[in-house]
Point group: C2
Chain length 271, copies 2
Amino acid sequence: MLRWVDGRPSETLSSLDRGLAYGDGLFETIAVRSARPRLLEHHLARLADGCRRLSIPLDQALLRAELLAFATQLGEGVAKLVVTRGDGARGYAPLGAATPRRLLFGSPWPSYAPANVSQGVELFPCRTRLAEQPLLAGMKHLNRLEQVIARGEWQEPRYAEGLMRDMSGRVVEGVFSNLFLVREGRLITAELSRCGVAGVMRAWLLEQAAEQQILVEIRDVDYDELLATDEVFLCNSLYGIWPVRRLEGHVWPAGALTRKLQGILRTLLDF
Amino acid sequence: MLRWVDGRPSETLSSLDRGLAYGDGLFETIAVRSARPRLLEHHLARLADGCRRLSIPLDQALLRAELLAFATQLGEGVAKLVVTRGDGARGYAPLGAATPRRLLFGSPWPSYAPANVSQGVELFPCRTRLAEQPLLAGMKHLNRLEQVIARGEWQEPRYAEGLMRDMSGRVVEGVFSNLFLVREGRLITAELSRCGVAGVMRAWLLEQAAEQQILVEIRDVDYDELLATDEVFLCNSLYGIWPVRRLEGHVWPAGALTRKLQGILRTLLDF
């Protein structure tokens, strides 16, 4: 598959890269359809925010041009973008001298079961809890051992995703998705100032909710509230929306608001 | 400088490495003196423990042989070892198929001021707090953004290290060191089951304390106790022991037990 480093085809990078040494960087996983990156502005905005928070000086115009050129070559599939602080000497200090590195990876469209969208999924209840670190919360950075450990908790294919809670037991997200509850017609999703990844599809759905005058609550969510809610769904920028059908014996219907949002996604983004 | 990948000279690695993608790996920073890795058994033991906890199947005998050969070539300096889960496909799942990758980096002996050992150092009070994650605590894994951010908090050379506390304000460690308090002849160091790195020099000093019948307390330490204690010192496997002289206007002497441990280090490990 297609792999670029700093805008040129390459399958290797310098072993001095701080992305390897410390996970000192960020990434985006971007759907490419008909040679166009989908939700490009949202991906670029989140990446820019992460770069600002980590003080990684990234050339946004160059990156945008590169992503468009990469999508043209890829055609259909997934473009994963990794931005690191670049090569470093020994030591943690994020010295100004390093030049950020851009990596792009193409892969085929993932083979998720079509029933995940139509009938919904079963969630695995991960024991791995998310640590609370406000300085990193919301960013899609490269320190992802919690997700690696959580995803290692189950192999059974009947679980399409896993539920992640924080150290206090609050409901936060999926391992590679954000989570929404629906209650009395309102959308509820976890506040992500202590942990979690602020997903691009989550951001897009929050904008759509505002347009559609659907009430939204972004706040802490406890486990009992999740179990008692009317509908639950997951989202990310590759698969769109998966209704959650089951978790630890609790069953939810793929309800009206979940179906409505799936319809909007289909209409506006051709999901 | 000398760089090896999987036992052979190389300055690059595959861009699919999970160390880059997720920080999915571990590292050791090893002093090499007279062509021998110092505290080799301690480094290998900690690495083996980390590999077991992260389910990374590493060939320990191969690694030991490689480290010895690398040290022979390096002669004097620092050997940094990175072990990753190896190349991965898209997704967090730590599939059994990946072959772990071993990277070795040589660098010259760091140019710390000799006065750090003789007169002690001033600590910078980092605002960055360590998140509490028992699944990762103690390991020297590659998810090190907290240390990158903390080390970015100061540039003034008068601070040789920074103090890191956890989310509850407890005193844990330095950015690249462990921390000990001395109080009425006893050694006190933070318990590292929620956060922190269990340093190799910390382990060696705890063994020496047992041999010398010095009482040790491994437990939570609060900030007021740090400020009120008799002596404070930092340690790591490269510089040995630095007395802490000052923190936020508080001043400590380089006291008797700190000097005694420095003497033992000098005698037994030629620091």
